[in-house]
Amino acid sequence: MRARFALSLVVTALALGAVTAAATAADRPDPAADAKAFRDFFVKKFPKVKFEDFVNGPYSMNEDMRRQWEDKEQFPPYEFALEAGKEMFGTPFKNGKSYADCFANGGIGVRQTYPYFDEQEGKVVTLELALNKCRETNGEAPYSYVKDEMASLTAYMAYTSRGKPFDIKIPNDPRALEAYEKGKEYFYTRRGQLNFSCASCHVQNPGERIRAEILAPAIGILNAMPIYRSEWSGMGTISRRFTTCNSQIRGVPLEPQSDEYRDLEYYLSYVSNGLPISGPGARP
């Protein structure tokens, strides 16, 4: 028990502090300016990294790891999931319809347009959500959001979009702007006992080691999703990445595809606009 108290102290002392910045209350939301500042920040912080290489996460920042990755990419560990996803995607539902019927262009080469803001529902719709909606509309049970079938399906859809730049739009709808702003707030808000925000790791310290891992830059981090993580010995979706990030900082994860995560994905994808989809990816 005492040990845990002591740990709490250490942990809190380690927590990253922020600077008291100028008053920001008067700022008006301006996603385009945000995205530019975001991009400029990373380009300036990592002058040697080619812009498109940010989608390769930690491998863009560490030579030894990059070699291991390139070696693995000769026969990538996500290959089985990718093939399974392709087969699943092409298999009709019991009612004769298929995934292709639920998406523009039959679902091929469209991953870069997700998430989008659905003006009818008034909410952000992610690819994972759209896939399960498609299943449910056609009388099929939804899949778990974190791995297995969902990871295989999104792996295949990402694969058909490889090289296509993220193309996330914020429609002229105050609710869309609000979702974006909420996503941004989630991204920068410290949480969990470690008192870390997403930005503590992926803005302030990309390229640095935390425990054993080399942190990925926030920009382009979703472009490689879903990923085969050696640590998971398997595939994981964006939902899995968000929930495990939260647990790692000792926060109780929210439900996959809860509004917060949807908004976060919206924000993070928007500020990576222009960077190509590279998923499925492989990560340590």
């Binding site: 040697k48 990294v49 080619k50 290489d53 989608v55 390769n56 863009s60 030579e63 030894d64 790891m65 990059r66 070699r67 291991q68 990755w69 390139e70 070696d71 693995k72 990419e73 000769q74 026969f75 990538p76 560990p77 290959e79 990718l82 694969y159 490889r162 090289g163 425990r211 054993a212 891992e213 080399i214 050696s230 640590e231 010995s233 190509p276 590279s278 340590p284």
Partner: protein, 163 residues
Amino acid sequence: MTASFGPSVTRRLIIKGAAVVALVGFGHKLLGPWPALAAANDKYPEDAFKQKGAPDAIKALYGRDHEASDKVKLDAPEIAENGGVVPISVTTTLPDVTSISFIVSENPSALAASYKIPPGTVPAVANRLKMAKTSNVIVLVEAGGKLYSATKEVKVTVGGCGG
């Protein structure tokens, strides 16, 4: 490095190649005898894989001493990105190579993999191994009836035994 390498393009090409070749085949499980491994000296070295330490494993497998050789080139990362998947490869300029084996000294069982190299096969192997913790990796090359080796330490911060 960063400038010349276009990962998404490279991977796309790679996968396309894979799809073409991988589909020529039949995947049913065979339960009968196994012709490819029927040859007499292809027996699985059960005993060597059971040994705990590197010296015992090498003794059980080869029954002789090894000497370090600069003709054996072992390629392994300085720091494994994950102990569960450590890419390790070897090439050698030694003639008459008959087998190549990989030892991870600090693993619960030191012998990781052993490969027989028939005449006509290039004496070079790349594979991916699990490492429980920071350890020496020893590669053994059996050539012309002698045993040569190369050793490199690989640091592991996330072990490969966590599943």
